[in-house]
Assembly symmetry: C2
Homo-oligomer: 329 residues x 2
DNA sequence: CTGAAAGCGCTTACAG
DNA sequence: CTGAAAGCGCTTACAG
């Protein structure tokens, strides 16, 4: 491999000078610059990032921690992140916790040891060890999707999104509304969305049957199963609408209803959250909420870049959303 | 940051010894090992990857070059790759060419400079500059989805998959079959899939109207547009089936047909390729081909790991596929 | 405007 | 079984 020393020799300058022209800092005479550039181009020389990083403590790499890599939300977010960091010459180092909370902590430390310049975490839960690890790493850090005390967080407005959706369902005349959610160790999806739903229901003077509340695990199959349980638990007293906290589970629920010959929305209405591509093309098309995941990714990246410049903006940012009314309600 | 020197001092050994216990090589007395481990744990010491990489020329990072990050295929493949490399302690450095051929080359060089231990490229085209760049990099290298001469390639069996699908359409009694493809600078999707289609058609003694052949750009919208053009170009003489080379474009085509009040499959049958999640939940459910993307990713990673061990296996691997018959034909 | 030298944090022959 | 020393390829005060 050709190194800075080779370039220096070939261009007849010191490696200090080579470094200066490559990084565009300090004084360099025009003739020296030209000689160096010529050699650099001729050899196709690329500086060693390890050496540079060892010396400068910066790597040009952003660590991204995902709960699950092959997910529509994740890939949208990563797309958004990549769009802005790539422009600034950063790369993304990707890790996947597979929804294992322990791995979130492990990966933060790992990314730290790799000298990443910053980390974006798509958190799924909040706990003290996680918070401590983040603090120890002492790195520019963004949490996306969950509010983490003391760290810059971009969160979706789960509470109000759920309220709006529930409101809309009620306005359509539904009084018997079921709920398919996820576990409450996930503050955003599990707690906030449920809270928005329940409170809106109660404010409308309605009630939710215990047997109409089920929990899945984000998968399509779990939506199918939850729907099945709700239907089987309430013969002769079916809900007329189901509020589902994710599109994927909603699609699973729809699948079960269709199998049972129940018409959507005439017999049972369904809503999702997430605005997955699929939500638009299932039939009936699914009423859902767009969280603008890509934009959230863009924003996360921009905030991280700001933190890299020392502009300290430790705040909570609430992401916009948009209710998309389609044919499933 | 605590370094190997700190650990050495605290454990009362040389840093040579610390290195030995950390990397588990060379002789170390039990007592020395214990002292070192105790200090390492107490301090939470993590070795600097840059320093290590500078010294050893290995980084523990695998570079992955994607044509588009936020795509179902890509995320499945990456999921597969990650599953195997993570187990071996490798990380993934992700780059996205946004379908820009120039960037494929640029990223190979960039990843090289970052001392990645190997590269997996989801290629979209083949050209000499690309091939040269790969050769120059002189790194363990896997091409996924396109056959690249001289480099280990995992390819989908586009030709036979197309043949099988076309065959199936013909067997259902269709004689007037349209085609929606992509540009032929993509040898796998653009050329091979088309070839499999055309040849099977001709062997069956059928013909394809010029106006029934259209090209999209992988997007749902382009499938919609292509379908529209086909329908509008052939009033009174519509095809009875459409072979579409990707699920997304097929979904777009279905959307247009439904809007026009054409029934699928009674009026026009549709097929896709890719087995996207969506294909199962659109209505009617889409007949398609599963390419086992995740397994392809797994395999790519395994082959790369083998190459890292110097087991030289420069070969072409043909990936399996499976025709999924559903309701759109 | 330019270069010699120190140093970033590791690993690895080499010598004992 | 252990350590001193060289060196990986850079950048950055410092001195001129």
């Amino acid at each position: 491999m050709t190194t800075i020393n080779d370039i220096a020799k070939m261009a007849n300058v010191s490696r200090t000078t080579v470094s200066r022209v490559l990084n565009n800092n300090g004084y360099v005479s025009e003739s020296a610059r030209e000689r160096v550039m010529k050699v650099v181009e001729a050899t196709g020389y690329i500086p060693s990032v390890s050496a540079k990083s060892l010396r400068t403590k910066r790597s040009g790499v952003i660590g991204v921690i995902l709960p699950k890599i092959s997910t529509e939300t994740a890939s949208r977010v990563v797309g958004g992140i990549n769009e802005v960091v790539a422009k600034e010459g950063f790369q993304i180092l990707l890790t996947d916790t597979e929804l294992n909370h322990e791995k979130e902590i492990e990966y933060i430390r790992l990314l730290h040891s790799r000298h990443v310049d910053g980390i974006i975490l798509l958190a799924t839960n909040v706990n003290d060890r996680l918070l401590n690890t983040i603090e120890d790493a002492n790195l520019p850090f963004i949490s996306l999707g969950q509010e983490l005390p003391g760290v810059t967080s971009i969160v979706y407005d789960d509470y109000h999104a759920s309220r709006d959706m529930t409101h809309m369902i009620i306005k359509k005349g539904h009084k018997k509304i079921a709920y398919i959610g996820v576990g409450e160790d996930d503050p955003a999806v599990g707690v906030l969305r449920k809270q928005g739903f329940i409170e809106t229901i109660q404010e409308a003077g309605l009630e939710v049957e215990e047997s109409w509340i089920r929990y899945g695990d984000f998968s399509i199959e779990s939506g199918y199963e939850s729907m099945k349980q709700i239907v089987e638990a309430s013969p002769g007293n079916l809900p007329t609408a189901v509020f589902v906290v994710t599109d994927r589970m909603a699609v699973g629920a729809m699948e079960y209803l269709k199998e049972q010959g129940l018409r959507i929305p005439q017999d049972i209405a369904i809503t999702g959250i997430g605005a997955s591509v699929m939500s638009k093309y299932v039939s009936p098309s699914l009423t859902t909420i767009d969280y603008f995941n890509k934009e959230a990714g863009t924003m996360a990246a921009e905030l991280l870049l700001e933190q890299l410049q020392d502009k300290n903006t430790k705040k909570k940012f609430l992401q916009n959303y948009r209710l998309i009314e389609r044919d499933s309600v």
